[in-house]
Amino acid sequence: MDHAMRFAEPDSIEEVLSLLAADPEARCLAGGATLVAMMNAGLTAPSLLVSLRKLPGLASIDPQADGAVRVGAMARHATVAAHDGFAGAQAILAAAARRIGHPAIRTMGTIGGSISHADPSADYPTAITAADAVVEIAGPEGARAVPADEFFVDWLETALAPGEIVTGVVVPPDATDAAVHYEKFTRADGDFATVAAAACVALAEDGAVAALRVAAGGVAPTPIRRREAEAALIGRPLTEDGLAALGAALADLSDPIDDMRGSADYRRRLLPRIVGRAVRRAAAAFTARSGARSGTGPQAGGVA
């Protein structure tokens, strides 16, 4: 080690920001699941670790007056996975959190750390993009909020300016009360996704699609969505042709890489299959839930 790594664990955001402002080589330490792995591999050696563990209000998940849910940056994956206060499309965060790594990783890792690292094969970036969540940021110039699809800028790159930190993720209320499914394809359980899709689906009484949001991960430098292709499926029954069109639209926008989890070509071919599966399963979950609520049991329909 070239230099001694220092450690600080402040109990106010102001102190965190002033430590980060004073030292460009300082890094925030959230759960450590990524940063410490990189330190152990010799990929980074911050001069100062600024632990966020003692900051008040950063680890909690809080309902907002308007029906939004604010997930603090230091909320652990296991906490989000078990949270039962999400409604409709908001629940895609819990569905994704359940698929992150393994039990001992989910007790450590945090949502703020995951999205700040911005690995497009990670689960949260895709999930918060599908949920139209807003990222809360604190920095030397004050606080600001950035929508998820503007937060992820490029491979491992976010809209965070130097000296800024993520303080939370605000997940808007979902008036459509969609059901969700997070579909993740991996060769080994707990790995980063080869391809993943986060789907939020609501159906009308006649089985037509009432609301649809789908984000795909692991297929481009950032999570991707095709809002116009989502909109094209609204008001019609869900069909294989419709899903294929959505999958093709996403595949057109994709820009995957070759790596040990799969070739770019493989990912491009896999993407429509995973998207279709995510949407069908979300739709099936919506149908099953409606049936359970109306007391008539699961109804036919939903997927033509």
Binding site: F7, G32, M39, N40, P103, I105
Partner: protein, 184 residues
């Protein structure tokens, strides 16, 4: 492996390890795994991948399984750490440890302490898990001897043994109560 120890920027650290409160000092970026193995001589937790992937370093922090290799030691201030060494009661193995031995679930042994801690946390939270829950708790724990089947069987046997012990304890208690009730 003292090269891992970073003596220049020591952070004071009060931490309870296996029930014993300790006043220590650690490097600013030092991991809990280095602290345990190299400052405290507790070599149960193993350094396998040092990337959080293999599970061999898993310990309990405030009762929850964590990767010691990814945990910055200084963040453990005023918290409780449990390692495989802490499961011993004198020379007696814990029910999970005993079941692993009895079930032939230990081969080279490198993954065993991490598996043991994961199973200990599981059985505390869920005394009667099914095989699927055991496998889920063990996901992220690699055994390169590939002895997974026996490890899962041992976990279920440990749960059974604990339940049996509980039932025996309750029965003994009932017997005591009856004896007391019958006493003049």
């Amino acid at each position: 492996m003292t090269a891992e120890l970073d003596e220049d920027a020591l952070v004071p650290l009060r931490v309870t390890v296996n029930g014993r409160a300790q006043a220590l000092a650690c490097g600013g970026g030092e991991t809990l795994l280095t602290l345990l193995r190299e400052r405290l001589g507790l070599t149960g937790a193993k350094r396998g991948c040092n990337q959080g992937l293999c599970g061999a370093c898993t310990v309990l922090l405030d009762g929850q399984p964590v990767r010691a290799c990814l945990t910055v030691a200084a963040t453990c201030a005023d918290r409780r750490v449990e390692t495989a060494e802490g499961l011993l009661r004198g020379a007696r193995l814990s029910p999970v440890q005993q079941a692993l031995v009895d079930g032939g679930a230990v081969q080279c042994g490198f993954c065993t302490p991490g598996m043991t801690m994961a199973l200990t946390a599981l059985l505390r939270a869920e005394p009667r898990p099914d095989a699927a829950r055991v496998r889920e708790a063990l996901s992220g724990h690699l055994c390169r001897c590939t002895g997974y089947v026996k490890i899962v069987e041992a976990a279920l046997a440990a749960a059974e043994a604990q339940a049996q012990k509980g039932a025996d304890g309750a029965a003994a208690g009932d017997a005591d109560a009856r004896a007391e009730g019958a006493a003049p």
